[in-house]
């Protein structure tokens, strides 16, 4: 009976996981009918979507509000004795510094995502698409989520990245193609940790960039 339950759960898991496996590339406006062999990629613009920016700004605002509350505690520490007030001040000071560090890391990450993705794409696309029709590539990142390495071992987790790409003719500014790209890796335990590799962030950006390269090469033009 136990074996049967295991078999059924593995079978169901396999079926549903397969059914719900994220597709990598979804055309919104396909490049069909466009001669991709003629592409000369002149410009790659990478940006964050308005929702992404709004989400990050909200995180920063929440942290700033928290910092304000801790400053208030530092100025008016609770407690009847001076020892308690000093302890409360120390705790508040520590939390304040943690929040300030968090804000700095959020801001740095925001800039780093754009820079790293841009570098990753240019690396993958280097020496490719050197035709005669000048085109530009706009990449709008909608989400970028990495799981903490410890969490992968203990409970599992997923790294994912989604974005929209638009390919435009430089001369006419005509939109030639628009695609939604997803990179999603779910890993768990030690095996998952090994499969994830030493640089999951770099791997995810590389895979995302390779999908862009495939789109430009006409792989999803049907």
């Amino acid at each position: 009976m136990k074996q049967l339950i295991k078999f059924i759960s593995i079978f169901l898991a396999a079926v549903f996981f397969t059914a719900c496996t994220p597709k990598g590339v979804q055309p919104i406006q396909s490049l069909s009918g466009v001669d991709v062999a003629d592409f000369n990629l002149t410009n790659v613009n990478v940006g964050l979507s308005p929702e992404f920016i709004a989400r990050v700004e909200k995180q920063i605002t929440d942290e700033e509000e928290y910092i304000a509350s801790q400053k208030e505690l530092i100025e008016n520490p609770p407690g009847r004795t001076s020892l308690r007030r000093r302890d409360a001040t120390k705790v508040a000071q520590k939390r304040l510094e943690e929040s300030e560090n968090k804000i700095n890391s959020i801001r740095e990450e925001m800039v780093a995502i754009e820079t790293d993705v841009s570098t990753g794409i240019q690396k993958v696309l280097a020496d490719k698409f050197l035709g005669s029709r000048n085109v530009s590539l706009d990449v709008l990142i909608n989400s970028f989520a990495m799981t903490n390495g410890g969490a992968v071992i203990l409970v599992g987790g997923s790294d994912s990245m989604t974005g929209l790409i638009r390919i435009k003719d430089d001369q006419s500014n005509e939109l030639l193609g628009e695609y939604h790209i997803t990179d999603f890796d779910a890993n768990s335990g030690l095996i998952g940790m090994m499969a994830r590799g030493g640089n999951p962030r770099g791997s995810m950006i590389r895979q995302f960039s390779e999908k862009i390269s495939d789109v430009l090469a006409g792989k999803y033009s049907e």
């Binding site: 074996q3 295991k6 597709k23 987790g157 989604t162 998952g192």
Partner: protein
């Protein structure tokens, strides 16, 4: 077969536990989600539209190629087991009627289909193209998803002198996806609600000036 299952389940115990807990259950919950047509929230602030009450008996027509209803096009793989249907046909009729009532003292509005829409003599004709409603959901942290819906609505106003004024609307709505992606419906509702608001405001501005 059971031996094979035993070996596989031992080797992949942790990953499958993860798959079942983190991936399968939300997807299963999601796969069983079958919403009714989403209730669209109308964001038009009619009080902010000044009453003009232009004198005279006016005739207007509103032409729609199709009913403004359907299912939002899902972009991307997340929440792909879900449908996000919408219907704002009556809401936009209501919004347009209210805008006309603000501008004109007496106005007779005919709501037409695209087949007979141009045959009636009107002081102005309003046309609305089919709506383009899209939704995409994605993880913002490993266990926290978000849905973003976009509504594009194109329309025009043709006056008695055959002058045409275009109305172009593109709005977005954001909502946490929730456990079963049901929050996506809120994003669709918000984006359509804002589209109706934007359309109504643009229409009001066109009618007031002309």
């Amino acid at each position: 077969m059971f031996l094979l299952v035993n070996i596989v389940s031992k080797w992949y115990q942790l990953p499958f536990r993860y798959i079942i807990i983190v991936v399968i259950i939300p997807f299963l919950a999601g796969c069983s989600y079958s919403p009714n047509k989403e209730k669209i929230e109308n964001f038009v602030n009619y009080d902010s539209l000044k009453v003009v009450n232009r004198h005279g008996n006016y005739k207007a027509s509103l032409t729609k190629e199709t009913h403004l209803s359907g299912t939002a096009e899902l972009i991307g793989p997340f929440c792909s087991a879900h449908n996000f249907p919408y219907d704002f046909d009556f809401i936009i009729d209501d919004a347009i009627t209210t805008v006309l009532d603000k501008v004109y003292q007496t106005v007779e509005l005919s709501i037409l289909t695209s087949e007979n829409g141009t045959s009636i003599e009107n002081d102005f004709s309003i046309k609305i193209d089919p709506a383009d409603v899209r939704i995409m959901c994605h993880p913002i942290t490993e266990y926290n998803w978000e849905c973003v819906a976009t509504t594009k609505l194109l329309g025009s106003v043709l006056d008695r002198e055959n002058d045409k004024y275009d109305i172009v609307v593109e709005t977005r709505g954001v909502s946490p996806a929730g456990g079963a992606c049901g929050g996506g419906a809120d994003a669709v509702s918000a984006s359509i609600g804002h589209a109706i608001e934007d359309f109504s405001n643009q229409l009001y501005d066109i009618l007031v000036v002309n």
